[in-house]
């Protein structure tokens, strides 16, 4: 029988009380997902289901080549197809610009740098006409040399120089970013190590692969504005300004509607570029337009980049870690988010263990690999992967238990890590021990029928959550009937945010959750709250909501105090009424205490109160972090907001004759106070059983000269239900720690102590499977995924 462990939450009651704690009424409770009924009846408001009368179909013609010169584009045949309304290329002024960081063309004009680069666009009355037109556009290319290897691309003398002029960072023509970290006396500590382990790994690009591909609808309004529905996970930081900027309208003239639930994000829907193309076509055709990427585009348009790692770690005989050396290379056709990934890799390296010295260099270069975007974990899983494998190899060399080695070296609460941050809410030891306990409870390894062999593996992981990027405001509208409307722009991307937003507000105001409503996201009235990325929404958005609730209570108590002739501090509130503490007979409804409109008699019919924090910044920038060493400076000692920690254990079976790999048992956990344990368990199961597991066992990314061959679900192999353990062999653990931002001044609590974890759950997954495979076959494999050909090669059978 699978186990679901949630540690004791009552111990945090006093700490929670200052946020409006009302007795774990909704905090920590398994409230049903508010989106559930819509989802199971197919009526959820996914952007995919937005349907406007007379809507055109927008489609992109994309490059089959990874690197080529565009010789000519002939659209004449496509234009003549009945039902085709518009065919455009970069010659059209609307499509001549650059996207996001200024190095990515809206439509390519002279050159393509990656398989799938867009070269032409069509709007047509029907899907059939649109697809026929795409096929009828004749593009002539001249192939150019291709480089997809990020390490080769970073060479001082690369075989292909991608851009003109080249960025030429530190004499490396294709390199546009180099991030170093220097901590401690590296040479001395490494030399003083009794034992060292060196590992290299390649982690290929891996698409987000959401069944719902990128999609958006845009419509031209008669007043010169446009309305856009875009399937995105944030609005204010990227999609809204990008769309407005690209079509040349002020943001107020782009009415942006978010989905009720973003149909799967994982970082892949942070840019919302389908909305850019839909908006452009809507303005040109003055018709409603839908742009829906097909499956091929869905797997090709973005991915995590290929990561190549070289890691060396050292330790003393007693298992005390000494030095860490790590070098990584990533690449892609456009800058996008690659630089940020290298910065965040530092956090993965310094976020779990205590090192005496660290030397890290990360290089991002232009390559012709598939285009990239933020991807669940944003460098945490890729960074933890190699380090956690090295930890197991180190334990083997030292003759130590892998858990003991880790327990000896976990950072302590309040300790400074290798980036000179003061570390808070450190839950690694608790999670690791709990997962190990579950793993031990599986009993001795079962004997498998020949030629199957069984192995088990364990790993820890960490994920940072960034601050900054958020102005973070939330509005609560109190209505006379006791209903509180939650007005934010944060997107539920399947994580349950629509539900936990209501839990936060109901808990903070001590009202029935049925009296809370989360209002649809629309920039016409939604403030910039938290974004659904970097596992930050619970922390940031929750903080803003609780702050708004606190502000509202203050106003209500001040007004009620006058009516009840007491002091505000003598009042309490329950279920939408205010009363003198312990005297329910004095209760008056909130509506009597709403502020009045100046000059008008009596309270107003409703009250809107805002809350928020200017999210603590990442403290990057002058005087805050030394760019040459990545050491945090100044009083706060923080490069990120907080870390979350995870652990996972897997049992695998490997067929030594066919190379087949099956995962048979799983336990995974994380360290946080759950707003809704069901949601957190959902993240653990999803992050570790589908994304992390798929990365490790099946999602191979075959390409030939940068042209990707796995462009369908049959060829890019996402695990199915047959690839995950049966329900009796899935254990999850939520080990509560009080969530708090790193640093000392100010020390910032997470709302009700709840921090996020949705990405970090992926971090220990692939290394734990790698450790299990090593245990099963006795050979250390480091390049994922472990497909049959890879396993048999390792066994000397290929």
């Amino acid at each position: 029988m699978g186990k679901r462990f949630v540690g004791d939450l009552t111990q945090f009651a006093d700490k929670m009380a200052k946020y409006g704690y009302s007795g774990l009424r909704y905090m920590g409770q398994r409230v049903d997902d508010v989106n559930g009924p819509g989802i199971v009846t197919g009526t959820a408001d996914w952007t995919f289901n937005v349907n406007l009368p007379g809507m055109l179909v927008g489609k992109l013609k994309r490059s089959p080549y990874a690197h080529a010169k565009i010789v000519s584009i002939d659209t004449s045949k496509a234009e003549k197809i009945p039902g085709v309304v518009f065919v455009g290329t970069a010659k059209h002024p609307m499509f001549a610009g650059k996207l996001i960081f200024g190095d990515e063309p809206v439509l390519c004009d002279k050159e393509v740098w990656s398989n799938n680069d867009p070269v032409a666009i069509v709007a047509a009355e029907t899907l059939e006409a649109a697809d026929d037109a795409i096929d009828a556009i004749d593009v002539k290319y001249e192939e150019l040399p291709v480089e997809t290897d990020p390490e080769a691309a970073a060479s001082p003398s690369p075989s292909v120089v991608q851009k003109s002029p080249p960025p030429n960072k530190e004499g490396r023509p294709n390199c546009f970013y180099h991030i170093p970290l220097r901590y401690g006396d590296f040479d001395k500590e490494m030399a003083d190590s009794d034992v060292t382990v060196e590992l290299a790994s390649v982690q290929p690009p891996d698409p987000h692969g959401t069944p719902c591909t990128m999609n958006a609808v845009a419509v031209w309004n008669g007043d010169g504005s446009i309305s856009v529905w875009d399937d995105v996970q944030n609005i204010h930081p990227v999609p809204w300004p990008v769309i407005a900027g690209m079509v040349g309208l002020p943001q107020e003239k782009v009415h942006f509607h978010g989905p009720e639930v973003c149909a799967g994000g994982f970082g892949g829907k942070n840019a919302g570029l389908a909305g850019v193309y839909a908006a452009m076509l809507a303005i040109i055709t003055q018709r409603p337009v839908r742009v829906l990427y097909d499956r091929t585009e869905g797997l090709l348009h973005v991915s995590r980049p290929c990561w190549k790692w070289k890691v060396k770690i050292g330790a003393k005989k007693d298992g005390t870690l000494t030095a860490l050396e790590a070098t990584t290379y990533i690449g892609g056709p456009y800058g996008r988010f690659l630089g940020g990934l290298l910065e965040r890799a530092r956090n993965g390296l310094t976020g779990t263990y205590r090192w005496k010295a660290v030397k890290y260099d990360g290089y991002a270069s232009y390559t012709n690999a598939q285009n990239t975007l933020s991807y669940r974990g944003y460098s945490s899983p890729e960074t933890c992967y190699t380090v956690e494998m090295a930890m197991d190899e180190l334990a083997k060399k030292l003759g130590m238990d892998p858990l003991e080695l880790r327990l000896k070296n976990f950072l302590n609460e309040g300790e400074r890590n290798a980036m000179n941050e003061i570390f808070r809410s450190m839950g690694s030891p608790g999670v690791a021990k709990k997962i190990r306990e579950f793993m031990d409870a599986w009993g001795p390894k079962p004997s498998a029928p020949d030629p199957w062999v069984v192995g088990r593996g364990f790993a820890s992981g960490n994920k940072y959550t960034q601050g900054g990027m958020v102005t973070n405001t939330a509005h609560l509208k109190f209505k006379a009937n006791g209903v509180v409307e939650i007005i934010t722009d944060s997107m539920d991307i399947g994580t349950g945010l629509n539900t936990i937003w209501r839990q936060f507000v109901a808990e903070a105001l001590n009202i029935p959750i049925e009296n809370t409503v989360k209002i649809a996201v629309n920039t016409d009235y939604s403030p910039h709250t938290s974004n659904s990325f970097s596992s930050m929404a619970t922390f940031h958005g929750g903080y803003a909501l609780i702050n708004a609730a606190t502000n509202a209570k203050k106003i209500l108590f001040e007004n009620a105090a006058k009516i009840l002739n007491v002091k505000p501090e003598e009042l309490e509130t329950k279920d939408g009424k205010i009363m003198v503490k312990g005297k329910p007979e004095t209760a008056i409804p909130w509506s009597q205490a709403f502020p009045s409109i100046p000059g008008q008699p009596g309270p107003a019919s409703e009250m809107t109160v805002s809350g928020g924090i200017y999210s603590p910044d990442d403290y990057l920038g002058p005087g805050k972090m030394d760019p040459a060493t990545s050491q945090c400076l100044g009083p706060y000692f923080r490069s990120v907001l907080f870390h979350s920690h995870q652990a996972a254990a897997y049992e695998v079976m490997v067929n030594k004759e066919t190379g087949e790999l099956r995962v048979t048992k799983f336990a995974g956990g994380c360290d946080l106070i759950p707003v809704n344990p069901t949601n957190v368990e959902g993240q653990i199961e999803g992050g570790m059983l589908i994304m992390g597991l798929g990365t490790a066992i099946s999602e191979a990314r075959y390409e030939d000269k940068g042209m990707y061959l796995g462009k369908s679900y049959l060829e890019w192999k996402i695990p199915t239900v047959m690839d995950v353990p049966k329900t009796d062999y899935v254990d999850t653990a939520i080990v509560p720690v009080w969530g708090e931002a790193h640093g000392d001044n100010p020390r910032i609590d997470a709302p009700f102590g709840a921090k996020g974890t949705a990405e970090g759950v992926q971090a220990p997954s692939a290394p734990a499977i790698a450790n299990a495979v090593a245990d099963a076959i006795g050979v250390r494999l480091t390049n994922i995924p472990f497909t049959p050909d890879v396993i048999l090669k390792a066994l000397g059978k290929a």
Partner: protein
């Protein structure tokens, strides 16, 4: 997300009528049965698509499983689900039921037919995408040997390195099954092991498989299949063995562009002479081990 290419639809009521339409369009008409492979082609458009699709599912008598005089007869449009669930096949022809069950997931099995499974187009990724103009499509070269070839053939490659993708063909070949093929010129029998030739099948453009016949129930049989994921995937390597009054026949799937079937000794000898490509040497040892296991 992707439109079906333009075509015209034809509902055939008899096999003769279907053959006549196929003949009239001389290669530009194709048979529509389950459609799981054909509709895929019509959307991906990796080759010029047919002008006419001839639906044969409404032809009476083309679907069904019967036993006649010790032989098993399966109508061409019998679905894979029908095979998996048929009690006779489960008890007497288990390797065939196993192959169907280890084939596509149930919803595809509900649509896909026996004849369609045998005649599906190869899954080679160079062939399946319009981006590559490969030899099988009329281009000058097979891209697999110099490119990515993890799932490709290790023997009998000739000019194309794609493997026969059919799961059912493997046990059927091991059980010496034959196909009844009807065209405008009449009816003929084709052994399953002879169905595949370089770059295609021996079927003429006007011909339709009407049924599959397994002459006798094997006294001993086995089917094994290896794949990346536990469900849904095509075979990396599969093997079937069947012992009948004619002796023991072993057939291999996932290793060649044609059916590889013969005595255990002949198959082992063929594996010893395999010519794997740069990335698929692993298939040699898998095939070897599988032959040992299915004949054990």
């Amino acid at each position: 997300m992707k439109a079906v290419a333009a075509y015209k639809y034809y509902d055939a009521e008899t096999v003769e009528e279907a053959c006549a339409v196929l003949n009239q369009y001389a290669g530009k008409a194709k048979v529509l049965a389950g459609g799981t492979d054909l509709v895929d082609w019509m959307k991906r458009r990796f080759m010029p698509t047919p002008e006419v699709l001839v639906n044969i599912k409404k032809i009476p008598g083309l679907s069904g499983i019967t036993e006649e005089g010790g032989a098993l007869k399966i109508g061409a449009t019998t679905t894979l689900t029908d095979i998996v669930e048929n009690s006779t096949i489960q008890s007497k022809y288990k390797s065939l039921a196993d192959a169907a069950a280890k084939g596509p997931p149930p919803p595809i099995r509900n649509m896909g037919t026996v004849a369609g499974n045998l005649c599906q187009y190869v899954r080679c990724w160079y062939y399946r995408w319009p981006d590559w103009y490969c030899y099988r499509k009329g281009g000058p070269i097979c891209f697999a040997p110099g490119g990515r070839n993890v799932p490709h053939a290790i023997m009998e490659q000739k000019v194309c390195n794609a493997v026969v993708p059919s799961d059912l063909a493997v046990p059927l070949a091991a059980m010496n099954a034959t196909l009844t093929v009807q065209g405008t010129g009449g009816t003929r029998e084709v052994a399953v092991k002879d169905l595949y030739v370089v770059l295609g099948t021996v079927l003429k453009p006007d011909e339709i498989i009407t049924s599959v016949t397994v002459p006798e129930a094997p006294t001993k049989q086995a089917f094994l299949k290896s794949r990346v994921r536990a469900g849904v995937d095509f075979a990396l390597v599969s093997a079937a063995a069947a012992t009948t009054s004619k002796g023991t026949t072993v057939a291999l799937g996932g290793v060649a562009p044609i059916m590889v079937a013969g005595t255990p000794d002949a198959i082992n000898a063929a594996i010893d002479k395999a010519t794997p490509l740069s990335e698929n040497r692993y298939k040699v040892s898998v095939a070897k081990a599988m032959v040992r296991r299915v004949t054990a």
